[in-house]
Symmetry: C2
Subunit: 248 residues, 2 copies
């Protein structure tokens, strides 16, 4: 342990590669453990990820994992970082809006492909390397704009919040669909019907109107329509701010 790691949570040291073991190639490596965890989560869901299960995946004993990882939570954080991976390159030549849009879509796609990621309970601000790489992606998209740094930071948080909440919602719907053995559309319809049955229009007039409008029974014209709508509105607002600063 060098002085650099002093007081640093061990997850970080592990993730940022500050814990390289000089050994040649033991059977059990941090990378292999994390990869096994990701595999279990991808195939059987986050709830299937237990230390025992991950160890079995590697043909190792449960307790052996603790040589490389101090707690299960640490393993989970490392798994998330591994699953998140490197962000794609910024689309060249596009303005800030194109950049933020592809940031959002890429992030959403990632969470779609690995739905277990959003289920991992996080209890610290983002600090893992690949999370920072994504943050850099988003911030870089705003390079050259008149936005202040704190505004850029806020923007990143808002956009990823929008992405995360949408990803969570659609993951919930998909999970419910899978659990019921129906398609996603059927599940959405089912939600609408349930709402119609439960939400008394007298007590919830606005919800009643929503249900009566039938939008819950109408599939989106394009997938992620709602997400795109929200994102576009936010970016519109940001654009207005930028323009108002550029032409006072």
């Amino acid at each position: 342990m060098s002085e650099y790691e002093e007081g640093m949570p061990s997850v970080l040291a592990a993730a940022w590669g500050l814990r390289e073991r000089p050994g040649k190639g033991p059977r059990l490596t941090l990378e292999r453990i994390v990869a096994a965890g990701v595999k279990v989560a991808a195939t059987d869901g986050l709830s299937a990820v237990s230390m025992g299960r991950v160890a079995r995946e590697l043909g190792a004993a449960t307790m052996s994992l603790y040589r490389h990882v101090t707690t299960k939570d640490e393993l989970l954080e490392l798994m998330v970082d591994a699953a998140v991976g490197q962000p794609p390159p910024l689309p060249p030549g596009g303005g800030w809006r194109a950049g933020l849009t592809s940031f959002a879509r890429a992030y959403l796609g990632l969470l779609r492909r690995q739905p277990w990621v959003i289920r991992v309970p996080l209890n610290s601000p983002p600090i893992m390397p690949n999370q920072i790489a994504w943050m850099d992606y988003g911030l870089a998209a705003m390079g050259g704009t008149v936005l202040r740094q704190d505004e850029r930071l806020s923007t990143i948080m808002i956009v990823s919040g929008i992405v995360r909440s949408w990803a969570l919602l659609s993951a919930d719907i998909n999970a419910a669909a899978q659990a019921g053995g129906v398609t996603t559309e059927q599940s959405t319809f089912g939600y609408g019907r349930l709402l119609k049955r439960l939400a008394d229009p007298a007590r919830f007039p606005a919800v009643g109107e929503l249900v009566a409008s039938g939008v819950l029974e109408t599939p989106d014209a394009a997938p992620d329509d709602d997400f795109e709508f929200g994102l576009a509105r936010f970016l519109d607002g940001l654009e207005a701010l930028i323009r108002s600063r550029e032409t006072p």
Copy 2:
């Protein structure tokens, strides 16, 4: 239940002793169980909520809870709904923007006061009565606008997503602060310092710029500045859309 209690907030019925039926009614009620769960979560955090602990709180046996609740997850969902409670009344006379803003602020305040709520892993679309009530609140704020129903729904989801992600982030920061025995500001500074130490500016230029700008060491002028910024941008965009439809 006599007719006197009809429509009366259950808090009042309980507080005025209208529900005291000593010796008669069962000791264990769904309401009492849920309330005990909320109490445990509020005092000792979500992780302290176990069936055993909640039962102990009531002087009952662990398994007795299962007469009223089929799984722990169900209890958690009920706890969330109870903690969420009824939304405040819509500010009268305000436009849609004032309505959505107070929706967002009220929701944020709620999640601030009961930080455990956002930690509860949800795996189904919102369907509990109080969640629907909040949804109605948000939708009602947009009553009379030119927005389509699906756009209103999308708006609600976006706004609550913004609120939730901001609440989660600040809860994380506060939790980290409390764990380290420092103030929230110190914790934020610590985050900035950690970022500065870990994120190589060569590898993450935009993050480097951010760190160099010092915003992470500068406390917000007002609390929730970043949140308000994001919300305002989104609402600006929505306003632009509404205006463009009203004056074609």
